[in-house]
């Protein structure tokens, strides 16, 4: 009852607020006033139901219940659902991804390429932000470094794609370390601001150093990747790049999942959790931080080289802060440190706007609303609680106890 009264009050308040805009139509030529009570009533009704829903959601949140109960295995939250189901889903996704360019148009393939590039970027940033907990806001700078490495090396030295791919990664790592050294002592907000500045420095340098980088005009006529000297048309080339990016993403996933479950990965996570305890446990924080920056930035370097080869044209406008923010949103929405979640979030954030072009006017509005809702109801991101299983002595008995305690909580 209380909820209904509250929702009604909210509805009335919204009706009053929106009345001047929605309820009155002034025609200044004919000097007539039209009262549109129906619209106001509609507004009230809509607000009433939304407020009811809102109240219900908050009540569930307050009682610690999930808003939507996910089916088992849906988000990998329940290890009991077995690795078989998960592996099946992943294989199906992989098969779909491999078949995709053969079945759909070149337009779709190109969209998918950029989505996969973002998956790579998001996974790279996931190492720095998700695993090591270092909030970096200028990640796109490393992407730019990779792209310009290829662009410039091609322009001045005529180097090809396959030579530049590793070089792009190396350059990004070098820049990662250049950024890493001065910010070793910073954490949290301070780190975020400095890295934000770093991103802007890189972009502004590219934009204003016209004699070398071509300034805002950028670099054009960057060749697409070659395959043993084979001549390819635009269509074949796109498909080729698609498989290239897909392979790169798979390698990224493999490397990052191995890294995450290793001694180095544990140290990175410990750094995220508590820096002082980390030091006291014998971990060289300087070294771990620098490796986080290096490991994270190299993926952006690779992605940058592929991006330059895909678009054949780069300019500083592709590397604005907006891109960094977008990549960071993918990591946050996906769930810090989760590989599946971050990859899924990257796909969602790129593909959904592409396929919902009809709503493109409301894109930022929807994006903002989704962000706010996520932060209120699921701040930990889409996928969380992925625990690695370790083989411990006398495992069976111990596992039963753990499982029992899980069920007790669920």
């Amino acid at each position: 009852m209380k909820r209904i009264v509250k929702a009604a009050l909210v509805a009335v308040w919204f009706m009053v607020l929106t009345f001047p805009l929605m309820g009155i139509k002034v025609n200044s030529v004919a000097k007539t006033l039209t009262w549109r009570w129906d619209r106001t009533a509609l507004m009230g009704a809509a607000t009433f139901f939304l407020a009811l829903l809102w109240g219900w959601c908050f009540e569930r949140k307050a009682r610690g219940l999930p808003i939507i109960s996910l089916p088992p295995g849906g988000a990998g939250r329940r290890p009991e659902s077995g690795p078989g189901v998960r592996r099946g889903i992943l294989l199906a996704v992989l098969a779909g991804m491999i078949a995709m360019p053969l079945l759909s148009s070149i337009y779709q393939t190109n969209i998918m390429i950029s989505a996969l590039l973002y998956v790579m970027l998001a996974l790279g940033l996931n190492i720095v932000v998700g695993l090591a907990g270092q909030l970096v806001l200028g990640y796109v700078a490393f992407y730019a470094v990779g792209a310009y490495t290829y662009g410039l090396l091609h322009q001045y030295f005529g180097l090809g794609f396959w030579t530049c791919l590793p070089l792009g990664g190396v350059m990004a790592v070098i820049f990662g370390l250049i950024l890493g050294f001065p910010v070793l002592r910073l954490r949290g907000d301070y780190l975020a601001i400095v890295t934000l500045g770093f991103g802007e420095i890189v972009r502004l340098t590219l934009q204003n150093w016209s004699s070398v980088t071509g300034g805002p005009r950028g670099i054009s006529n960057i060749p697409r990747p070659e395959l043993f000297g084979l001549q390819m048309g635009i269509e074949e080339s796109s498909i080729y790049i698609y498989y290239l990016v897909l392979a790169a993403v798979l390698i990224t996933i493999l490397v990052i999942s191995r890294l995450k479950n290793s001694r180095v990965g544990l140290a990175l996570q410990a750094l995220r959790e508590d820096e002082i305890a980390c030091e006291a446990m014998g971990i060289d924080v300087t070294r771990v931080k620098l490796s986080a920056f290096a490991l994270g930035s190299c993926w952006a370097g690779f992605a940058g080289v592929i991006f330059a080869a895909k678009t054949t044209y780069i300019n500083p406008a592709s590397f604005t802060f907006m891109e960094s923010a977008m990549i960071l949103s993918m990591v946050v929405l996906g769930g810090m440190g989760s590989i599946v979640g971050v990859a899924a979030a990257a796909m969602l954030l790129i593909l959904v706007p592409e396929y919902l072009r009809a709503f493109s006017e409301y894109r930022m509005l929807i994006f903002g609303a989704v962000m706010v809702l996520m932060m209120i109801f699921r701040p930990q991101g889409l996928v969380t609680g992925e625990k690695r299983r370790y083989r411990v002595p006398g495992e069976n008995r111990a596992r039963q106890t753990v499982e029992a305690s899980h069920e007790a909580r669920a």
Binding site: V255, R258, L259, S262, R263, V264, G265, L266, A267, Q269, A270, R272, E273, D274, I276, A277, C278, E279, A280, M281, G282, I283, D284, V285, S291, L295, K387, R388, R389, Y390, R391, V392, P393, A398, R399, T401, V402, S405
Partner: protein, 262 residues
């Protein structure tokens, strides 16, 4: 008995504030030594000084290594000091809250294992074997603090007393020969405190290490420690066996104030 930790005239200034003033302290092999004093006496500052979180303004900190070497710790980084065999716990528990119980202890193994990035990527035999050894070693340590059944639980979900025990297990994972415990019994009930006492004794006996602990629970301090150091306002005011400390008028004054004599 040989000394393990030797601190001579240690002082620490924070700007104009002298937080530690000329403190001497020695822990000998296999001893349990307590450091007590009223709140704000500088006990935790003392810990932070000798574990490398602060660099002492004056004085020396020496750690005697098991091979007989005497190493000066002043100005060394905390992780180096831990690697040399001095581990600590924290007054306000500093676990890695989002990681599992087992992973928390495995972090402690970090400085005793070698695998690098390349090993992580290749997952070769050596790396896998090292990791499994680390898992088993950590699990053993968990067993010794009775947390092994909860090994896959997220650390933040543990009850308070269990978190304290986990911190000790994590410190033990670094294979120390000198263990520093900062208020290990804080927030524990009498039953848990007794268990903790047994645990500390057991660790000392089975692993042949020396323990320096800060504690406010006088019952525990008196029954557990071989010797006690008392601090007040950054200075050492007394040192001796529990009986001597109990009878020391200066200590009584520090704890109860001037009126106690009246």
């Amino acid at each position: 008995m040989k000394p393990v930790l030797e601190v001579t005239s240690l002082s620490q200034n924070f700007g104009g504030l002298r937080a530690l003033n000329d403190v001497d302290l020695t822990v000998r092999e296999g001893e349990i030594v307590a450091l007590i004093g009223p709140n704000g006496a500088g006990k935790t500052t003392f810990f932070n000084c000798i574990t490398g979180i602060y660099t002492p303004t004056e004085g020396d900190v020496f750690l005697h290594m098991p091979d007989g070497e005497k190493a000066r710790l002043n100005g060394r980084k905390p992780h180096k000091i831990t690697a040399m065999g001095m581990a600590r716990t924290f007054q306000n528990i500093r676990l890695f809250p989002e990681m599992t119980v087992l992973e928390n202890v495995m972090i402690g193994r970090h400085c005793r294992t070698r695998a690098g990035i390349l090993g992580a990527l290749l997952r070769d035999r050596g790396t896998r074997r090292e990791e499994q050894a680390s898992v088993e070693r950590s699990y053993e340590l968990l067993r010794s603090v009775h947390l092994h059944t909860l090994y896959n639980e997220t650390a933040k979900n543990l009850p308070y007393g269990a978190q304290r025990r986990l911190e000790i297990a994590r410190a033990m994972a670094t294979e120390p020969h000198m263990l520093l415990l900062d208020e290990p019994a804080a927030g524990m009930n009498p039953h848990e405190t007794r268990e903790l006492e047994d645990l500390v004794r057991e660790i000392r006996d089975s692993r042949k290490l020396s323990v320096l602990l800060i504690e406010h629970d006088m019952g525990m301090v008196m029954s557990l420690s071989d010797r006690i150091y008392v601090m007040e306002y950054g200075s050492r005011i007394a040192a001796g066996t529990p009986e001597e400390i109990r009878a020391n008028p200066q200590v009584i004054k520090a704890y109860l104030g001037e009126e106690a004599h009246a």
